[in-house]
């Protein structure tokens, strides 16, 4: 029983992490219909920035996290303004090729700068080990992830539903043409959201170094996970991807624990079945466009 609860807890932590990593992609796909396979590269950038700050320069872990966010967001906005925006109107094939190219470049570049082996971030003593609550082992680090990601999710939901920017964003996702007709600066909204999504990915990358493992192949290894979150969750709201990430996280942890030999098999089968059953995602609406 306690093993199940511990697994459930780990699954939730994993799922929340996936959500933070992937929710930027949900916006890119939903708002601009842009297939960004290079999303993992932004996460990796954040992770490596955090690693360098903590391990090499002796920053405290919690001070390095915001910087991981900022640096990834900065890279995101620079690339969006210079390269990405030329490709919004192009075919999906072009977008796929372009972002695969970027992914390859990021993999080789990080390999060149930091070496190809897996890196670890030195964690403060507070976050190490686990404690028991009624016999259920709770990892401190995973608890922190759940707290941070939970707060972020609530914050995102609030911004999206309560603020003026949120309503602009939702309007732009629903119908970009009508939104720009109403005077909403859709490209600006998008650029900002893109940068924010990249920042979140960077934060997720920094947090995930401990759990998912951080090496130069991160963008390729986890690309499929991000895509699963978005396609299964649908891109019309953030609750869809959120639930999809939790499902994926718990499914993956449980799958690895109970049927270790089948490993990723469970996840991929689930994804294909769901996509065949509901091509617009479990929680997506039928596409208006």
């Amino acid at each position: 029983m306690t093993a199940i609860l511990t697994n459930l807890f780990d699954g939730v932590a994993y799922g929340m992490l996936l959500f933070v990593l992937a929710c930027g992609l949900a916006v890119t796909l939903g708002l601009m219909n842009f297939v960004n396979l290079a999303h993992g590269a932004f996460a990796m950038a954040g992770g490596y920035v955090c690693m360098v700050l903590v391990n090499r320069m002796g920053w405290p872990f919690f001070a390095a996290l915001p910087l991981a966010f900022v640096s990834s967001a900065a890279i995101g906005i620079a690339l969006e303004r210079t390269l990405y925006r030329h490709l919004y109107t192009r075919s999906h094939l072009d977008q796929v090729l372009f972002t695969i190219g970027l992914t390859f470049m990021s993999v080789a570049a990080v390999d060149y700068i930091q070496g190809s082996s897996r890196v670890f971030i030195n964690l403060p003593a507070v976050l190490q080990g686990q404690f028991d609550v009624f016999g259920v082992g709770i990892g401190r680090y995973r608890l922190m992830i759940i707290v941070i990601c939970g707060l972020l999710t609530i914050g995102l939901q609030m911004v999206l539903t309560k603020t003026r920017f949120g309503s602009r964003l939702r309007a732009a996702v629903d119908d970009p043409r009508a939104a720009s007709g109403l005077g909403i600066n859709v490209p600006q909204v998008f650029a900002f959201t893109f940068a924010f999504g990249c920042g979140l990915a960077g934060l997720g990358g920094a947090l995930s170094a401990e759990i998912l493992g951080l090496d130069p192949y991160f963008p390729l290894k986890f690309m499929i996970y991000f895509l699963i979150v978005v396609t299964v969750g649908g891109s019309s709201s953030i609750t869809g991807p959120f639930l999809a990430s939790l499902l994926l996280g718990m499914g993956d942890v449980a799958g690895k624990y109970y049927v270790p030999k089948m490993g990723p098999f469970v996840i991929y089968t689930m994804m294909i079945v769901i996509l065949i059953w509901r091509p617009n995602g479990l929680f997506g609406r039928t596409a208006a466009r």
Binding site: L29, V35, L83, H86, L87, R90, S91, H92, L93, D94, V96, L97, F98, I100, G101, L102, T103, F104, M105, S106, V107, A108, A109, D111, Y112, L220, M223, I224, L227, I228, T231, K261, M262, G263, P264, F265, Y268, T269, M271, I272, L275, I276, P279, A287
Partner: protein, 342 residues
Amino acid sequence: MTASSDVGFHAQRQARWHYGEFAFWLVVLACGFLFPTRYLIMTDILRLALFAMSLDLILGYAGIVSLGHAAFFGVGAYAAGLLALHGIINEPVLALIVAGLAAMVLGFATSFLVIRGVDLTRLMVTLGIALLLEALAERFSNITGGTDGLQGIEMQPIFGEIPFDMFGKAGFFYSLAVLFVLFLFARRIVHSPFGLSLRAIKNNPLRAAAIGIPVNRRLIAIYTLAAFYAGIAGALFTQTTAIASLDVFAFERSADLMLVLVIGGTGYLYGGLVGAVVFRMLQELFSTITPQYWQFWIGLVLVVIVLVGRQRLHRWVLYVPNLVIKQVAGRKSVVAVPESDA
């Protein structure tokens, strides 16, 4: 001339063999005699060309974007490896066809999943299938050899007459013959009414359905055929290198394949062949400059190609040849890449 006979006239003229095509194949054949020390890399190019042609059939003619074409390559590779390893079918040509058929069965089964949904769903499903197969191959390591791959494959002579030699000469001409035969077949298909209907589907599925083309059936057919081609390419890989490992399913293989086709251009069958040559040359060049980080430059090539625009790039490349032809023959724009945005 009525409209329908006009279409038929142009279709037939398109389908005729040009001088350039004869020259192309003669050059390829000549390479086999001119560079006797480079058989291994040339065989590699032929394999890649066949694989790229397979993707061209679905991407260039039917407009299906696939990120997991390596699935069929891998099935073909393992099928050929297992057939040879356990001595089930010793004759390479027969084993090649059987391996191709194995991939074809998989292609037929998965085509029903692929024709559903839009581009993005297709990307995900094709990618998912390739990853699934990779996971399966890893799981059933007692059959596939797991991460070590299939080892100790010994190929029997082709037709029981021509043995595979260590310089790869037999392998090269064997691959060339297979490529040429399959090319002829593909060429016949894409110029047939069936091929024309595929183009109609690619341009506008709704309109194609409205004029009575059974869209789904055609897509299933071409997807299955492309899977057969990819399976043959995979089987050639195993037969000429005598290994089959997990990386036949790797995502990088599917991604590289896209690059090959993009370099060469889609929708005229030669794209895969030209692209394979250029891609391998680039790869050689980059890996002599930076042995470990050639992937960076490959990525850069992709980014640049997309930013410049594939059609514009092809116009630039063909600018000089067209100028020469114009001066010499007095005709306008003979060499052109008939490509629409896939």
